[in-house]
C-alpha cells in the first residue's frame, strides 16, 4: 500500500513536471513567431535594412538519397546543387548568397514528414524543393504548404491535381506528355490501345486524362489492366493482351516494367505491338536495354534531348559529379527549373515573403536548358516535352521536341 502511494506520488510529480513544460511552451512559441514576423516584415517597410539583406537565402531540399528512389533523389539533389552553384557564382539572389540544405528522406513517408518540418521549423528555409514519390509529396504538401505556410515546389513528374497558394509544380503532368505522344504511336502502330498501370493514383489519374484524348484522335481503348506496384505474376496482363489484341500498350508501370515486358515477350504476344510510356528515363532504360526497342517515352528531359542548353547542362553535371554521371529524366530538370524560377520570383517580389514570391512566380518565364518554361496560373509548368524512341541498341533517340506544352491543370487560386 505504501509502495503504491509512493508510486502514485512519483507519477503525479512527473506528470506535473511535463504539464509545466507544456504551459511554458506558450511563451516560447510566440517569441519565435514574433521574431520571424519582424525579419520578414522588415524589408517591406524599409528597403534599406543592411543587416537583413546580407543573410543567405535558405533553400531546403527533401530528396530520396537512400532507398528504392535513390537514383531519382540523387539526381534531384545534384541538379539543385548545380543551379545554386551557378546562382551563387553570378552574385546570388538580390545580392544575397543562397544556402542549400539537403535532407535525405530515405524513400519513407514518416522520415519525409520529420525532415520537411525540420527544414521549415528549425532551419526556417524560404522554400522547400522535392521530393520524388507521390506519397512523400502528399506529406510535403501538408507539412510545408498547408501547415507550415511555406512555399514548396514539387519537381517530379506526377499525376497533377494538387492545388494550394503556396504549392508549385515544375514536373511534367499527364496531359502535356500524353497529348503529343499518342498520335505518333497511333500513326505508327494503329488505333487500338491497351492501358496498363500499377495500381495507384498516378497511373489511374493519367489514364483518366488519356481516355478523352484517345477518343479525340479517333483511337479506341480495348483494355485497362492494373497490377500491384511490384507484381510477381503477369498472367492477367498477358491474357488481356492476347484477347484484346491492341496495336500498342500505353504503360505506367514504373517499378518493374522490365519484368512485365519480359513476361509479355516470352508469351509471344508482343509481335508488332508498340509501347508508349511517360516515365522511363535514361538510367531506367539502361536496365531494360534492347528488349524495349521501338518504345516511345515522353518526359521533360533526356540526355539525347534537343535544346540550346542541353550540352552545357550535361557537361556541368558530369564535371561536378563525375564523368559517368548523368541526370535522370524529369526530376533533374524539374529541380533545376524550380530553383531558377524561385530566384526570378524573389527578384520580382523584392523579398522572400512566401505570399509575395508565390504571386510573383505566376506568369514568370525562364529559358531552361531544353527551352522556354512558363509558370501557369494553375501553379503548374508550361514546358518543352521531349519525345524519344528506343533504337535497336537499346538507347534513346530523339524524335521530336514539343515546345510550350500546356499542363491543362484546372487549379484556380
Amino acid at each position: 500500500m505504501r509502495k503504491l502511494r509512493a508510486r502514485v506520488g512519483l507519477l503525479a510529480i512527473v506528470a506535473l513536471g511535463f504539464g509545466l513544460v507544456s504551459c511554458g511552451s506558450d511563451g516560447g512559441t510566440t517569441d519565435t513567431v514574433a521574431v520571424t514576423e519582424e525579419t520578414t516584415a522588415a524589408p517591406e517597410e524599409t528597403t534599406a535594412a543592411p543587416e537583413v539583406t546580407t543573410e543567405p537565402i535558405k533553400i531546403g531540399v527533401v530528396a530520396d538519397l537512400t532507398g528504392p528512389f535513390t537514383l531519382y533523389g540523387t539526381s534531384l539533389a545534384r541538379s539543385a546543387e548545380l543551379a545554386v552553384d551557378e546562382i551563387n557564382a553570378a552574385g546570388g539572389i538580390l545580392g544575397r548568397q543562397v544556402e542549400l540544405i539537403i535532407e535525405d528522406i530515405a524513400t519513407d513517408v514518416a522520415i519525409t514528414t520529420d525532415k520537411a518540418r525540420k527544414l521549415v521549423e528549425s532551419d526556417m528555409v524560404d522554400v522547400v524543393i522535392g521530393p520524388i514519390g507521390s506519397d512523400a509529396s502528399d506529406a510535403v504538401f501538408k507539412t510545408v504548404a498547408q501547415d507550415g505556410k511555406t512555399l514548396t515546389i514539387y519537381p517530379e513528374t506526377y499525376e497533377g491535381g494538387k492545388c494550394d497558394a503556396l504549392f508549385f509544380s515544375t514536373g511534367a503532368v499527364p496531359a502535356q506528355q500524353i497529348r503529343p505522344m499518342l498520335p505518333i504511336l497511333q500513326k505508327e502502330y494503329g488505333p487500338k490501345v491497351l492501358l496498363f498501370g500499377a495500381d495507384y493514383v498516378w497511373p489511374r489519374r493519367s489514364f483518366e486524362i488519356a481516355k478523352p484524348i484517345i477518343k479525340e484522335i479517333g483511337g479506341e481503348v480495348v483494355g485497362e489492366v492494373y497490377l500491384p506496384l511490384i507484381a510477381d505474376d503477369f498472367t492477367e496482363l498477358v491474357k488481356a493482351v492476347r484477347t484484346s489484341k491492341p496495336d500498342y500498350i500505353f504503360t505506367l508501370y514504373p517499378a518493374i516494367w522490365g519484368a512485365a515486358l519480359k513476361a509479355l515477350t516470352d508469351a509471344g504476344v508482343m509481335k508488332g505491338v508498340g509501347v508508349g510510356t511517360t516515365f522511363l528515363g535514361d538510367p531506367d532504360l539502361a536496365g531494360i536495354g534492347a528488349a524495349a526497342a521501338g518504345e516511345y517515352t515522353a518526359l521533360p528531359f533526356f540526355t539525347s534531348a534537343k535544346g540550346d542548353g542541353v550540352a552545357a547542362f550535361l557537361s556541368a553535371y558530369s564535371a561536378k559529379f563525375g564523368a559517368d554521371q548523368i541526370p535522370s529524366g524529369g526530376e533533374s530538370m524539374g529541380a533545376y527549373n524550380a530553383i531558377n524560377l524561385y530566384k526570378l520570383a524573389v527578384e520580382a517580389a523584392g523579398s522572400t515573403d512566401d505570399a509575395a514570391v508565390a504571386k510573383a512566380m505566376v506568369g514568370l518565364s525562364f529559358i531552361s536548358p531544353t527551352g522556354k518554361v512558363t509558370m501557369e496560373a494553375s501553379h503548374h509548368l508550361r514546358q518543352t516535352i521531349q519525345l524519344v524512341r528506343v533504337n535497336d541498341k537499346g538507347v534513346y533517340e530523339h524524335v521530336q521536341s514539343f515546345t510550350d506544352q500546356d499542363s491543362e491543370e484546372g487549379c484556380s487560386l
Binding site: 508510486r7 507519477l11 512527473v14 506528470a15 513536471g17 511535463f18 504539464g19 513544460v21 507544456s22 511554458g24 511552451s25 516560447g28 512559441t29 519565435t32 538519397l65 537512400t66 539533389a77 540544405i101 539537403i102 535532407e103 535525405d104 530515405a106 519513407d108 513517408v109 514518416a110 522520415i111 514528414t113 520529420d114 525532415k115 518540418r117 525540420k118 521549423e121 528549425s122 507521390s134 506519397d135 502528399d138 506529406a139 501538408k142 507539412t143 501547415d147 495500381d199 495507384y200 493514383v201 500491384p228 506496384l229
Partner: protein, 341 residues
C-alpha cells in the same frame, strides 16, 4: 529439501527469487531516474521547439517499442508484424475522422476510443485463432503469421481505394488539442508524449512484476512447464497479445495524428522489423532498454541523415553490428547484468 527438486512446490520460491532480483536491480532504478531527469529538463535546455517536438516523436515510438518488448522480451514471442497494430491505430483514426458516410466522420476523441476498441477486438479474434485454435501456434510459426499479417495489411492499404487512400494514404484534418491547449506541436506535444510514455512504462512495469507478469516470463522460459503447473497458457497469451496490440494501436494513433499523414508503409513489414532493432539495441526484457534504444537510434538516424548524406546508413549499420557483437543482450541488458544475475 524435497521442495528443491519438485517444480510444483518450487513455483513460489522461483517467483519470489525473480521478484527480489528485480526490485534489487539498483542500476535499473538509477537509469530510470537519470533518463527521467534528462528528458524532463530537455525542454528547458533548448529553445528550438522543433528539436523538442522531435523527442516527443521518439517517445511515441518508444511506447511502440515497449509493447514489442512485452511480447518478445517478456512473453518470448517474436513478432515480425507489430506495426500492423501501430499503423492500424493511425489508419483507423484517419478513416473515422476524415471519411464520410454511414456514421462517419466522428469527433477525434470518439475516433480514438473507437480505434482502441477495434484494435482490441481484432487482436482478440486473431489471438483466439492463433493461440486457441485447433492448432495453436508457437515460436517461429507465430512469427511467420505476424509477418504475413503485416504484409497483408500493407497490400490492403495500398489497394484499399477510397477507404485507405491507396498508395498515397490519408491526410489528417484534426490536430491534437484539449481545451484550446496545443498538444500538436513543440512543448505541448512533448508533454503529451512524455506523460503517455510514463504511464505506459509504469503500467508495463507493474504488469511484469505482477503475478501474471511472472507467469508470462515463465512462458518465455518453458511454456510446457507453466502449463503443467496448471496455468491456462493460451488464455494468458491471448490477454498479453490484446494488451500489447492496444498499446501499439494507441501509440500509432498519436504518432500519425501528429505527423498528419498515414500511408501503407505504416502497417508494413519494414516498420515492424525496425522496432525489433530498437528493442534489441536497448536490451529486450528490460522495458527501459527499448526506450533508450529507440531514442538513441532514432536520434542518430535523424541527425546523421541530414549531415552525412551518402554514408549515414552505412555508419548506423556498422554501429548496430558492433553493439550487437559487444553487448548481445543490448545496452540495458549489459548495464543490468551485474545486479540482476
Amino acid at each position: 529439501m524435497l521442495a528443491l527438486s519438485n517444480p510444483l512446490v518450487n513455483r513460489f520460491s522461483v517467483a519470489q527469487k525473480w521478484a527480489t532480483e528485480f526490485s534489487q536491480s539498483r542500476r535499473r532504478r538509477a537509469t530510470e531516474f537519470l533518463l527521467g531527469a534528462v528528458l524532463l529538463l530537455l525542454p528547458f535546455a533548448s529553445s528550438d521547439s522543433f528539436f523538442i517536438d522531435r523527442f516527443g516523436r521518439y517517445f511515441i515510438w518508444a511506447i511502440f517499442a515497449i509493447s514489442v518488448d512485452l511480447m518478445w522480451g517478456y512473453g518470448g514471442m517474436l513478432t515480425f508484424g507489430h506495426a500492423a497494430f501501430f499503423g492500424s491505430g493511425g489508419y483507423l483514426v484517419a478513416i473515422f475522422t476524415t471519411r464520410a458516410g454511414w456514421f462517419l466522420p466522428i469527433p477525434l476523441w470518439l475516433a480514438l476510443l473507437l480505434t482502441l476498441c477495434v484494435v482490441a477486438a481484432f487482436a482478440y479474434l486473431l489471438a483466439e485463432l492463433v493461440f486457441r485454435g485447433r492448432m495453436p501456434l508457437r515460436g517461429i510459426e507465430f512469427a511467420v503469421i505476424t509477418l504475413a499479417l503485416a504484409y497483408l495489411l500493407e497490400q490492403y492499404a495500398r489497394a484499399g481505394g477510397e477507404i485507405t487512400g491507396g498508395q498515397n494514404g490519408i491526410l489528417f484534418e484534426d490536430k491534437l488539442e484539449i481545451f484550446n491547449l496545443d498538444l500538436h506541436r513543440g512543448r505541448g506535444f512533448y508533454a503529451l508524449a512524455g506523460i503517455s510514455l510514463l504511464i505506459i512504462y509504469l503500467v508495463s512495469r507493474s504488469f511484469v512484476n505482477s503475478r501474471s507478469g511472472l507467469v508470462t516470463r515463465g512462458i518465455r522460459g518453458s511454456e510446457d512447464r507453466i502449463e503443467l503447473l496448471g496455468y491456462n497458457v493460451p488464455k494468458l497469451k491471448v490477454g498479453l497479445f490484446v494488451m500489447v496490440s492496444v498499446i501499439a494501436g494507441f501509440a500509432g494513433s498519436l504518432f500519425y495524428l501528429h505527423d498528419g499523414i498515414v500511408s501503407p508503409s505504416a502497417v508494413g513489414v519494414t516498420a515492424s522489423t525496425q522496432v525489433l532493432l530498437w528493442v534489441a539495441l536497448g536490451g529486450r526484457g528490460t522495458l527501459i532498454g527499448p526506450i533508450v534504444g529507440t531514442i538513441t537510434l532514432q536520434h542518430l538516424t535523424a541527425t546523421l541523415s541530414g549531415t552525412l548524406l551518402d554514408t549515414w546508413l552505412l555508419i548506423i549499420g556498422v554501429l548496430l553490428i558492433a553493439v550487437v557483437m559487444i553487448f548481445p543482450s543490448g545496452i540495458m541488458g549489459y548495464l543490468g547484468k551485474g545486479s540482476a544475475k
